[in-house]
C-alpha cells in the first residue's frame, strides 16, 4: 500500500471526526511514515508497521468512544451520491466508447435492429389498442362490473406491455452497446448502495436465450401439429374419395407448412378464441330470449294483450339464434360445407 492510499483510507474512514481532529491524526501518521522512511525503511515497510488498517481505524475511533461501524448518514449518502453520479458518467462514456468503435456498417446494422425493436413494440401497442377499442364498447355496456373488469384488464395489459418494452430495450442496449461494460466499484462502506447498473444480476442473456429456445420449440411444435392435422384431414379426404371412386387410397405425403401459412393459422386461431367469448355471450342471450319469448307466448295464449312486446321478443330471440349460429360456424367451423376446415 502506498502512503497516499493509506492516508486516503484513513481520511475516508475518519470522516466522522471533526476536520481538525482528522487532519491532526493524518498529519501525525504522515510524519511518522516520513520519519520511518528517513531511518531507511521503504514506504511499504513503514506502513506495514501499522498492521491491519481496519483494526487501526477501529482503535482510533474507539478512542473517541464512537461506534466503530458508524458512518454519518450525511457522508455516507454524499459518497453514495458521488458514486451514483460517477456511475452514470461511466455508463454514458462506455456507451459512447463502444459506439465510436463501431464501423459505419455495424452502426447501420445497429440502427436497423433498433428500428426493428421499435416496430415490434409499435405493432404490439397497436394490436393492443385495437383489441382494447373492440372490447371497450362491449364491456362498457355491461354496467359497472363490465367497466371495472375492462379497466383492470387494460391496466394489467399496460403494465405487461411497459415491462416488456423496458426489458427489451435494456436487453438491446446491453447486447449491442455495452459489450465491454465494467461497472464501477461501489465505495467501501457498511451498506452497499443499490447497484443501479448491475445488469449482470438480471441474467438477461439467460432469460432471453431461454425465451428464444422456448419460442422456437413452441413454433416448431405448433408447425408440426398443424402439419399433422392437415395431413390427417387430407388423408381422410383421400380415403372418402377413394371409397367413392372405388380405388385404393393414395398415400398422402407429410405436408410442408410454410411460415406464412402457419402465421395465418395462428391468427385465425386467435380470432376464433376471441370469437368463442362472443359466442358464449350470444348463446346466453339467445337462450334467455328464447325463454322470454316462450313465457310471452304463454301469456299471449292466456289472454294478456302483449302481442306487440311478444313479437319483439320473438324477433330478438330469432336474431340471437342466427348470430349464435354464425359465431358457432366461425369458431368451430361447424356446418361450413364449402370451406376447408382445420
Amino acid at each position: 500500500m502506498t502512503k497516499k492510499d493509506f492516508l486516503n483510507f484513513l481520511e475516508q474512514r475518519l470522516m466522522v471526526l471533526n476536520d481538525t481532529e482528522r487532519a491532526d491524526l493524518l498529519n501525525e501518521y504522515e510524519e511518522h511514515i516520513e520519519m520511518k522512511m528517513a531511518s531507511g525503511l521503504s514506504e511499504e515497510e513503514a506502513i506495514a508497521g501499522f498492521g491491519d488498517p481496519e483494526e487501526l481505524v477501529k482503535e482510533l475511533l474507539d478512542a473517541y468512544h464512537l461506534n466503530t461501524d458508524y458512518q454519518p448518514s450525511g457522508s455516507r449518502s454524499a459518497s453514495r451520491i458521488a458514486w451514483y453520479v460517477k456511475s452514470c458518467a461511466h455508463f454514458v462514456s462506455s456507451m459512447f466508447d463502444t459506439l465510436f468503435h463501431y464501423s459505419i456498417r455495424d452502426l447501420f446494422k445497429l440502427f436497423l435492429q433498433a428500428c426493428f425493436l421499435a416496430a415490434f413494440l409499435g405493432v404490439i401497442l397497436l394490436g393492443g389498442a385495437f383489441l382494447g377499442s373492440l372490447l371497450h364498447g362491449t364491456f362498457w355496456h355491461l354496467g359497472w362490473i363490465g367497466r371495472l373488469f375492462y379497466d383492470m384488464v387494460a391496466l394489467f395489459a399496460w403494465i405487461i406491455y411497459i415491462a416488456l418494452a423496458i426489458y427489451l430495450v435494456i436487453f438491446f442496449i446491453k447486447r449491442y452497446i455495452l459489450i465491454d461494460y465494467q461497472p464501477l466499484e461501489p465505495p467501501a462502506g457498511n451498506s452497499q448502495p443499490k447497484e443501479l447498473f448491475r445488469m449482470e444480476n438480471l441474467h438477461l442473456d439467460e432469460h432471453f436465450d431461454n425465451a428464444k429456445t422456448y419460442a422456437g420449440n413452441m413454433a416448431e411444435q405448433t408447425g408440426e401439429a398443424f402439419a399433422r392435422m392437415k395431413q390427417k384431414a387430407a388423408e381422410s379426404r383421400e380415403l372418402r374419395a377413394a371409397r367413392r371412386e372405388g380405388r385404393e387410397p393414395v398415400k398422402v405425403p407429410f405436408p410442408d407448412i410454410s411460415l406464412g401459412e402457419l402465421c395465418m393459422k395462428i391468427i385465425v386461431f386467435c380470432c376464433r378464441f376471441i370469437g368463442f367469448f362472443f359466442l358464449l355471450m350470444a348463446g346466453c342471450s339467445a337462450l334467455s330470449l328464447i325463454a322470454a319469448s316462450a313465457a310471452g307466448l304463454v301469456f299471449v295464449v292466456m289472454g294478456y294483450k302483449i302481442i306487440g312486446p311478444f313479437l319483439m321478443l320473438l324477433g330478438c330471440a330469432l336474431l340471437s339464434i342466427v348470430i349464435t349460429g354464425l359465431l358457432l360456424q366461425f369458431v368451430f367451423g361447424i356446418g361450413g360445407g364449402k370451406h376447408e376446415t382445420v
Partner: protein
Amino acid sequence: MNAQFKKGVLEMVVLLSLARKDMYGYEIVSEVSKIIEVNEGTIYPLLKRLTNEKFFETYLRESSEGPPRKYYHLTKAGEMYKDELKNEWLQFNESVMTFIKECDSP
C-alpha cells in the same frame, strides 16, 4: 510475548515515558518499542485517547528537520493516573509473583 500482557502495560509504559520528558509521536513510539515490542499503529490511538481524557496536553514546537512537530505533555491528571497505574501494577505483580513461587516450591 502474550498480546494481553503487552496490552495491559502499554498505557502505563507510555505514561511513565512521558513523565520523564515531553516527546513527539515518533519519539514515543521508539521509546516504548525499546521496552515492549508493540504495533506502532496502536500507539497513536492510545495517545489520542489519553489526550481526549485530558491526561495529555499537546503543543507544537518548531523542529530543525521540517514542519513543526506535535509534542505531548503529561498533565496533572495524567500524573495522578500514572501513579495510580504504577501502584496497581506493583500490587498486581506482587500477588502474581507470590503465587508463582508457591506453585514452584510445593
